[in-house]
């Protein structure tokens, strides 16, 4: 009897512990989001969103950071998406050399394990100094391109793997060339993975700061044109959050940016979920 009660207590205790841990995780998230929104949302004003910071008027605005974030997302995806999808197609459709596949996959895994601060350093050495981009949005975007490559490769590859072999056989059997088959059959039917990869990458770019601090810099000037913007230093939202919190102790602005970032993350997660659900065949 004693043994049995002990077992029951142990069982119930562990059960409660497991539930407590899950509750803790959810609680952490809810507390975190709640606190950031509570502190940040009241400080998001139209003025903050639509102006550049000005020392003269003693004002802080995050319009340049918003624009920089958008520019970097656009440029990075523009390059990383074709390359990443191409790499995934190569791995899944073209490559026959087992060893080469293993090496490419190992490289992609290694890339995804390298911390962003190291990307920042190499980006600084290679893009900013070696190629002479200076500290500019362009250098930052190039650095991020390498960084998000593994994400796009992995999600695309996973989705390519789910395309039934009969599709390929059907297309090839009707006399389609390999490229024609990929363009008309394989890519459309793996669109869900590609879109998911895009969305995840956007999330990663939005949140990135360490890799951008030394490559894209912290500039806060609104450039006159998109091309000019890329040749200049420009901080994204995350970098701006770090600068305002750590270097300038403008905590209200920092919380406002944090709230915007969280809103973006919520949006991105919802979009990823939606993409997975609606685009699935």
């Amino acid at each position: 009897m004693n043994y049995r009660t002990r077992r029951t207590i142990c069982d119930k205790g562990l059960y409660v512990l497991v539930c407590l841990c899950a509750a803790l995780v959810v609680g952490l998230l809810v507390g975190l989001i709640g606190y950031i929104f509570y502190k940040g949302l009241p400080h998001i004003t139209w003025e903050l969103l639509s102006t550049a910071p000005s020392v003269l008027r003693g004002m802080i605005g995050i319009l340049p950071n918003l624009l920089n974030t958008l520019y970097i997302i656009g440029f990075t995806l523009l390059i990383a998406l074709p390359v990443g999808v191409g790499a995934a197609i190569y791995l899944n459709e073209y490559a026959k050399n087992r060893r080469l596949i293993a090496v490419v996959e190992f490289a992609a895994e290694t890339l995804s394990g390298i911390p962003s601060i190291l990307y920042g350093l190499v980006g600084m050495l290679f893009f900013c100094q070696m190629l002479g981009f200076q500290t500019s949005l362009l250098a930052g975007a190039c650095t991020l391109t390498i960084m998000i490559l593994p994400t796009i490769i992995r999600t695309t590859q996973e989705s390519l793997k789910t395309v039934p072999a009969s599709y390929r056989e059907g297309a090839l059997g009707l006399g389609a060339s390999r490229w024609h088959m990929i363009r008309t059959i394989i890519l459309p039917s793996s669109i869900d993975g590609i879109v998911t990869g895009c969305i995840l990458s956007i999330g990663r770019i939005v949140g990135e700061s360490a890799a951008l601090l030394f490559t894209a810099g912290v500039g806060t000037v609104v450039a006159k044109s998109v091309i000019k913007a890329f040749t200049r230093a420009g901080g994204t939202l995350s970098v701006a959050l770090y600068m305002y919190a750590s270097e300038r102790a403008e905590f209200d602005v920092a919380f406002a940016i944090a709230a915007i970032l969280l809103l973006l993350v919520l949006l991105i997660n919802a979009a990823a979920g939606l993409a997975r659900k609606t685009l699935k065949r």
């Binding site: 490289a107 890339l111 999330g203 944090a258 969280l262």
Partner: protein
């Protein structure tokens, strides 16, 4: 066919057929060229990631070696004092290495039990409705930018610790460890959950049939059966923790002390990040050397992870 030929006249039909033949030939040729070009393009895309790894490795080694050669490997790795801007500069990174190791260990000690139990909840305990609530929460946790964690650590955690332990400053190793523990949670949870779900149901059914309770089954059968996957999750978490820079920079106080729970410390990552903006000469090169040490750590972790995953795949 004959009727068509009769109506159109034979010679014309022939020339038409020839023309068709010629265009078909040309299209086929173009198609072949396109095919070859696309093949090359895809091969190139595949090679980009290899080139990127080579580039990163090459640059880190190339930039990191000079300072080590100048300072001396043992003095660099085991020197206990980092005074990069002193009149007689000293470049010993033992404090950073130990801080990174202890900090990561601390984060794992706190994060792994919570993460593993949450994974158990998700994989085996939660009813479907709750699963639909908790799983997205974990996803969301992994999507939150590290600077936001840093901000919360700075504004909430540090002051709390300061009051709790009556410290002079709340920016200390403990704060960094707690932030890291939270940041590695999603990694550990999602990898462990996958591992737990992959355990064949027969194992658990056998255990339950023998009279074990649900929790006994989970803890004595399911978790041991999933241990290699869980270990992979932990190693992945270690990699995340050791490479995290910004959040740690905002909460750890950033002074080059030897590690101590309530001391202001500097990690390998923050050592690089905090001085890079103004460093020059040997100091700058020494920062690259720190990056090299960090890189070696990360590669070692990757190697361990890969062998573990391969073993699991073989098993």
């Amino acid at each position: 066919m004959e009727r068509i030929a009769a109506r159109t006249g034979l010679p014309r039909a022939q020339s038409k057929a020839q023309r068709a033949e010629r265009t078909a030939h040309r299209t086929r040729q173009i198609a072949r060229v396109i095919e070859r070009v696309m093949n090359a393009v895809f091969v190139l895309c595949g090679l980009v990631s290899i080139a990127a790894v080579a580039l990163i490795t090459g640059y880190i080694i190339w930039a990191g070696l000079p300072a080590i050669r100048e300072i001396g490997l043992t003095e660099f790795l085991f020197g206990r004092v980092w005074a990069s801007t002193a009149a007689e500069p000293k470049f010993g990174i033992l404090p950073f290495i130990l801080t990174s190791v202890w900090g990561t260990l601390g984060a794992v000690v706190i994060g792994v039990p919570i993460g593993l139990l949450t994974a158990v909840f998700l994989a085996r305990v939660a009813p479907k409705g709750l699963h639909r609530l908790v799983a997205p929460a974990v996803d969301l946790l992994s999507g939150i930018p590290s600077v936001v964690y840093g901000l919360i650590g700075m504004m909430v955690l540090s002051p709390t610790l300061m009051r709790l332990f009556s410290l002079k400053s709340g920016s200390c190793m403990l704060a960094a460890v707690l932030v890291l523990a939270i940041m590695i949670l999603p990694t550990i949870i999602s990898v462990s959950e996958t591992a737990l779900r992959a355990v064949p149901p027969e194992y658990e059914e056998a255990s339950l049939a023998l009279g074990a309770t649900k929790m006994e089954t989970v803890f004595k059968v399911t978790i041991p059966a999933a241990r290699s996957g869980i270990a992979a999750g932990i190693v992945l978490g270690v990699g995340r923790a050791i490479g995290e820079a910004m959040a740690v920079m905002m909460v750890a106080g950033n002074v080059a002390n030897m590690p101590g729970l309530f001391k202001s410390v500097r990690f390998l990552t923050t050592a690089v990040a905090s001085e890079m903006s103004y460093a020059g000469g040997l100091q700058r090169q020494a920062l690259f050397s720190i990056a090299l040490v960090l890189y070696i750590f990360i590669m070692a972790i990757n190697l361990v992870l890969n062998t573990m995953l391969k073993k699991e795949a073989d098993a």
